[in-house]
């Protein structure tokens, strides 16, 4: 019981940045996060917007969920940038990608750049949830906490 309460408060406190230029995908990711119990969700519909947010020390984020392919600054650029910002070192980063052959190379690049996890479109809610729980160190898989 204590565990559940603690998790719920963790979930409610966690602040997540969603970066996705496709409005449909952005809205579904946000809806998933809400269904998982997250309360503090910020959605950026362009990487430029995301760069502005990440450079603002006043904006604290525990996790970034970012699309890969975006015009101008892409997901990998965003990841590299956030790894350079000293106050973003603890922030987790999950890349959302499409699994076409050349993207496997990109995934390898993202690993080098220090991505915490990646998720391939289209995905199920359960998988998204597991990845988030995993990177936030809340344990993954079979627990029932805050299940969608």
């Amino acid at each position: 019981m204590d565990n559940v309460r603690r998790s719920s408060s963790l979930i409610e406190r966690a602040r997540i940045l969603v970066v996705e230029d496709d409005a449909m995908v952005k809205s579904i990711v946000v809806e998933y996060l809400q269904a998982f119990g997250f309360k503090r969700i910020v959605a950026a519909d362009s990487s430029r917007h995301a760069v502005r947010l990440l450079n603002d020390q006043g904006e604290g984020f525990d996790l970034v969920l970012s699309d890969w392919q975006m015009p101008g600054v892409d997901g990998l650029d965003l990841l590299r940038l956030s790894r350079k910002i000293p106050y973003r070192q603890a922030m987790k980063f999950i890349m959302i990608t499409s699994q076409v052959p050349e993207e496997r190379i990109k995934i390898a690049k993202a690993r080098q750049a220090g991505v915490d996890a990646y998720i391939v479109k289209p995905f199920k809610g359960r998988l998204l949830r597991d990845k988030i729980w995993e990177v936030l160190g809340w344990g993954s898989g079979g627990n029932n906490e805050a299940k969608a």
């Binding site: 449909m24 579904i28 809806e31 269904a35 015009p71 499409s98 076409v100 479109k121 289209p122 199920k124």
Partner: protein, 444 residues
């Protein structure tokens, strides 16, 4: 008789027919079929027929027994015949026709034949050859005649001008050297012609394959973009459906269904775009009246994903609604190629300016990028097939194909120049045609 292996020869209409010559990995021909040495002799005098055998197919290989004709110089040396002719000797026209028919059905045609002009029986040598050429147009005929029963003019008159390259003439009595050399010439002519056909066909095949490869490469690029869009749409549809479990009012559920339907419509739209590239070979020559900006717009829509992710702005400078009578798929491929080229030249971001204007009797379509342009030294070569500046990434066919589609299929002109300020400009000029329903030469 020679036992030289014979390659299968398709004899219907062409020496090589559908035969595919083997090619190595670079597309070069690595092997051509072995030479065909089949020779037909039609001679009703058995003694002369024997002479042919002695000259062309001697029993002791290599050296031909000396057989002097009255015309042969007394010092003529036995002639060496390193090749083995596969000789078939017959004594009348009917047997000759039967042999030719048999050779065709066995796909072992004769390369050439020696025809006695005066044959016993109904048909003479010339009529016979005329008949044989109906069965096997590639057989090279040498008329062998005594006295002057026929001169070359009468043979020419009988066979017709179009047969002139397929026969020769020799007077009796002949020397072994004459026969041997005529046989060599006939065999060589036949085999070299076949080799040339195989090579030409091989080249045409390669060309076709490269064009197909280029088309597939374009399709793959378009398909990648579409795949990406589909993943987004599916993510949305799957998510909405999954999350509908958590909804507990009918209204919320209805709203969610509406969202799912919307996403599905978007998927259908994406597919609709793709259908243009579905089977271009079928639509290849179908032409219709259309506004020239239509295939441009379609190309841009097909590449919308790439345009977006490459941060490219497309500006319509002028957009005259000019009508062309054209092949939509072909023109779209042109603009897909030009857009891809422009994006590759510009890198991560840039702009493409497009303008359509009508000047006097022509339509000018300009397609300009803001990349580095092309080196003056190579700009004229950009439309050459296989010329590429993109290394392994390019086939060197994109612009060549664009030029062909514009110039051959649409009677237009495609030129490439550096823009005076920046970037490369492709200028396409189409003849300005009259109204679609008017009496235009291409209308209909």
């Amino acid at each position: 008789m020679s036992t030289m292996p014979q390659k299968k020869i398709d004899t219907e209409g062409s020496l090589s027919g559908r035969m595919q010559a083997p090619a190595d990995i670079d597309g070069r021909l690595s092997a051509l079929p072995e030479w065909n040495h089949r020779v037909l002799v039609v001679e009703d005098e058995h003694g002369i027929a024997e002479a042919y055998r002695d000259i062309l197919s001697p029993r002791s290989q290599g050296v031909i027994p000396i057989r002097r004709s009255s015309r042969s110089a007394p010092t003529e040396e036995p002639t060496k015949a390193p090749e083995r002719f596969e000789l078939v000797v017959v004594h009348d026209a009917e047997a000759a026709i039967a042999e030719v028919k048999r050779s065709m059905s066995m796909k072992k045609p004769f390369t050439m034949g020696f025809f006695d002009v005066l044959l016993g029986g109904g048909m003479d040598g010339i009529e016979l050859v005329k008949k044989i050429h109906e069965l096997d147009p590639h057989l090279y005929a040498v008329f062998v005649t005594a006295y002057s029963d026929r001169n070359v003019d009468s043979i020419q008159a009988l066979l017709g001008e179009e047969h002139a390259s397929r026969w020769d003439y020799l007077n009796k009595p002949f020397t072994q050297g004459e026969i041997l050399q005529k046989a060599r010439n006939g065999v060589a002519l036949w085999n070299l012609t076949r080799e040339k056909q195989i090579k030409d066909e091989h080249m045409a095949n390669l060309q076709r394959q490269l064009l197909e490869h280029e088309r597939l490469a374009t399709m793959a690029t378009v398909a990648r973009g579409i795949g990406h869009e589909f993943r987004n749409i599916l993510t949305s549809i799957m998510g909405k459906a999954e999350l509908s479990e958590t909804l507990n009012t009918m209204d919320a559920l209805r709203e969610q269904m509406k969202n799912i339907l919307q996403a599905s419509h978007r998927a259908a739209d994406v597919l609709q775009r793709f259908h243009f590239l579905h089977n271009p070979s079928e639509q290849k020559i179908q032409k219709k009246w259309m506004f020239i900006d239509q295939p441009i717009e379609e190309a841009l829509t097909l590449l919308s994903h790439q345009i977006k992710t490459n941060n490219v702005r497309v500006c319509w400078i002028r957009r005259k609604k000019s009508l062309v009578f054209g092949n939509e798929t072909g023109l779209m491929q042109v603009f897909v190629n030009l857009t891809l080229n422009a994006m590759q030249a510009m890198g991560s971001s840039g702009q493409i300016d497009i303008s359509i204007v009508e000047i006097a009797d022509r339509i000018e379509v300009r397609f300009r990028d803001y990349g580095p342009g092309a080196d003056k030294k190579i700009i004229d070569r950009l439309c050459e097939p296989f010329f590429t500046t993109k290394g392994e990434q390019g086939t060197g066919l994109g612009l060549a194909i664009a030029k062909e589609i514009i110039e051959v299929e649409h009677e237009g002109k495609l030129t490439i120049q550096n823009h005076e300020v920046k970037g490369l400009e492709i200028l396409m000029v189409f003849p300005l045609t009259t109204t679609p329903t008017g009496g235009d030469k291409k209308g209909g």
